[in-house]
């Protein structure tokens, strides 16, 4: 019998690598741009500047938190539009619970803070599970299901806060949100831990692997014996939890829980994931890409203020980077199709 000689063309590997790293390339280009401008116009450095690095990383933390969960959702070919208000809900609940723990339960500031943070995170189980259930079991398209939850979480957040921002008086909570031992902001430390955990989940576990498979082909994942309903539930649960963490941290930072805190961040979170190399069609994306994507957005917004450019350029700049990212992704698809980066 004739032995089949099947050869896989691997000649495009360098091209693939570059495309995979595009978010980091963007980031480097942006930094070079701002660096030259800052030196030319103000005689100062943009990036060899601990203060700027601290400011930008803190700035990126909360949107990144949302983007981490969104990365899983988008890789699975879904979208989570409820994240912004889930974050707001968590922020308000964390504020309330920290207050109640101190006033009613008589806890000290540290346990009261932990109680608030935990409550803020735990409350996001509900929207996460409902999102997952709608999408997995009732076959509601993610866009619609999470849009519904966007409304529900929004209303709940306002109700929970009595329609107001909820002030917190807890010195520990404020320390978590604002201090920086050894020059490293606590928020950034927490973000780094979250990044590592999420990277591990996505790249090293079956959960992550199956998320990629689900995004590429629901049928393939299902035929391979993966319980795609449970998987979908877990993915939306996880994205709710990261939004919960984001909300609880926001409360620490601003000493107040705000229902609308996350609303302006939802689109930034999706943009970060897309700039980071994920495709909205699902099946591709990485945590490192998302980290770069969130930094790209933060650097643009911070950098343009730093070099004193008319503020409306920010929108144009972020929009342009998103468009370029999507174009690169399209071009890449034409060459090699989707991919998983490990």
């Amino acid at each position: 019998m004739a032995a089949p000689q099947l050869q896989v063309n691997a000649g495009k590997s360098i091209l693939i690598r570059i495309a995979e790293l595009r978010a980091w390339l963007f980031l480097i280009l942006l930094i070079v741009f701002f660096e030259s401008w800052a030196r030319a116009a103000y005689g100062m450095s943009f990036i060899v500047n601990l203060y700027n690095i601290q400011s930008i990383t803190v700035f990126a933390t909360v949107p990144l938190m949302l983007a981490l969960g969104q990365t899983f959702v988008i890789i699975s070919a879904g979208i989570d539009l409820s994240l912004g208000f889930v974050m707001g809900l968590s922020s308000v609940v964390a504020a309330h619970m920290a207050n109640i723990a101190a006033a009613q339960l008589g806890l000290g500031p540290f346990p009261a803070m932990m109680f608030g943070i935990l409550a803020g995170i735990v409350v996001t189980f509900i929207p996460g599970l409902v999102n997952g259930w709608l999408i997995a079991y009732l076959r509601v398209p993610p866009f619609i299901g999470t849009l519904g939850m966007y409304g529900v979480a929004r209303g709940s957040a306002y109700l929970a806060g009595g329609g107001m921002t909820v002030a917190v008086n807890n010195e520990w909570y404020s320390v978590i949100g604002n201090s920086r031992p050894f020059g490293i902001p606590v928020l950034v430390m927490i973000a780094v831990v979250a990044i590592i955990i999420m990277h591990y989940l996505l790249s090293q576990t079956r959960f992550g692997q199956h998320t990629y498979a689900l995004g590429a082909s629901k049928a393939a994942a299902s035929r391979a014996g993966i319980n795609i309903k449970m998987l979908t539930m877990r993915i939306y649960l996880l994205s709710g939890l990261t939004a919960g963490l984001a909300g609880a941290l926001y409360t620490g930072r601003f000493s107040a829980g705000a229902p609308q805190a996350g609303e302006p961040l939802l689109l930034d979170s999706i943009a970060a994931v897309v700039i980071g190399g994920a495709s909205l069609f699902g099946g591709s994306g990485t945590i490192w890409g998302t980290v770069a994507g969130a930094l790209v957005i933060a650097v643009i917004q911070y950098g343009l203020v730093f070099i004193d450019v008319e503020p409306f350029w920010q929108f144009i700049a972020v929009g342009t980077v998103i468009i370029i990212s999507v174009l690169v992704d399209q071009a890449q698809r034409r060459f090699i199709g989707g991919r998983q980066v490990e």
């Binding site: 089949p4 896989v8 393939a220 035929r223 014996g225 199709g337 998983q340 490990e342």
Partner: protein, 248 residues
């Protein structure tokens, strides 16, 4: 032939969808190292019978025996666990994953990171992929490339490799060559022959009589959900198979 025990015996299996009698008392056997082709016009019931075997649908009447034991799987996963692998033209692979990841999809090997954290053992997946593909005479330069980069025939090779790796005893292929160009069809036929050489039982569904004649040991013809005849390629002409399919 009949002294040996068949891997699979389908006996008088019936199934209907609403008013449509998709299967009406169909029977056939598959022996080790044998390729059984299912032939029949559109809607004859070929896909339905293999879905009844592989746990996609329950069947109503009759019996299916695997190695002499009656089976009625509730899920495709259960069928897989019992050594029945099904290969579809389009639905089987996750395009964005490597060969190894596809072979192991849903059953990934795990190792311990730093001795504690469970993590997917990608090295083992890659090695297994390389070995399996070698068994199929399929040479790959980059084992981490996503299978989206592959041609249709190469993708079938991965799916077949998966069945082989997991030591399936019965491999079911529903129109594996349907979307392929002629050279790629040849390659898949060759792959089926490698599977056969390993002693698997194979059910092969195709509308392409040339493929059927080339690879099948026996041809089971269905017509409107019923057995319309059984022939061996050496003793029958293509015309006669077509006559059986359409009922004269």
């Amino acid at each position: 032939m009949s002294e040996r025990q068949p891997i699979l015996s389908v006996r008088n299996v019936s199934k209907h969808f609403g008013g449509v009698q998709a299967l009406d008392k169909v029977s056939f056997d598959v022996f080790p190292g044998e390729v059984v082709a299912l032939a029949g016009d559109n809607g004859a019931g070929k896909s339905t019978v293999i879905k009844a075997i592989s746990g996609v649908y329950p069947y109503e009447d009759g019996d299916i025996f695997l190695d002499g034991k009656r089976i009625a799987f509730a899920t495709p996963q259960e069928a897989r666990d019992n050594g029945i692998e099904t290969i579809y033209q389009d639905l089987a692979l996750a395009d964005n994953l490597s060969i190894g990841a596809n072979i192991f999809l849903g059953r990934e090997p795990m190792k311990r990171l730093f001795g504690i954290l469970p993590a997917i053992d990608r090295k083992r997946m890659a090695e297994a992929a390389k070995e399996t593909m070698k068994r199929l005479d399929f040479h790959v330069d980059r084992l981490d490339a996503p299978v989206a980069a592959f041609s249709g025939g190469q993708r079938q090779a991965v799916a077949i490799g998966r069945a082989m790796y997991w030591n399936a005893r019965l491999v079911i292929m529903d129109e594996p060559t349907a979307a392929l160009g002629v050279p790629e069809q040849r390659k898949v036929i060759a792959l089926i022959q490698s599977l056969k050489a390993e002693g698997k039982g194979i059910i092969f569904i195709s509308h392409n009589l040339r493929d059927i004649f080339e690879v099948a040991d026996r041809i089971v013809v269905f017509r409107r959900g019923e057995n319309a005849g059984e022939r061996t390629p050496g003793t029958v002409s293509a015309d006669e198979i077509v006559r059986l399919m359409v009922g004269k």
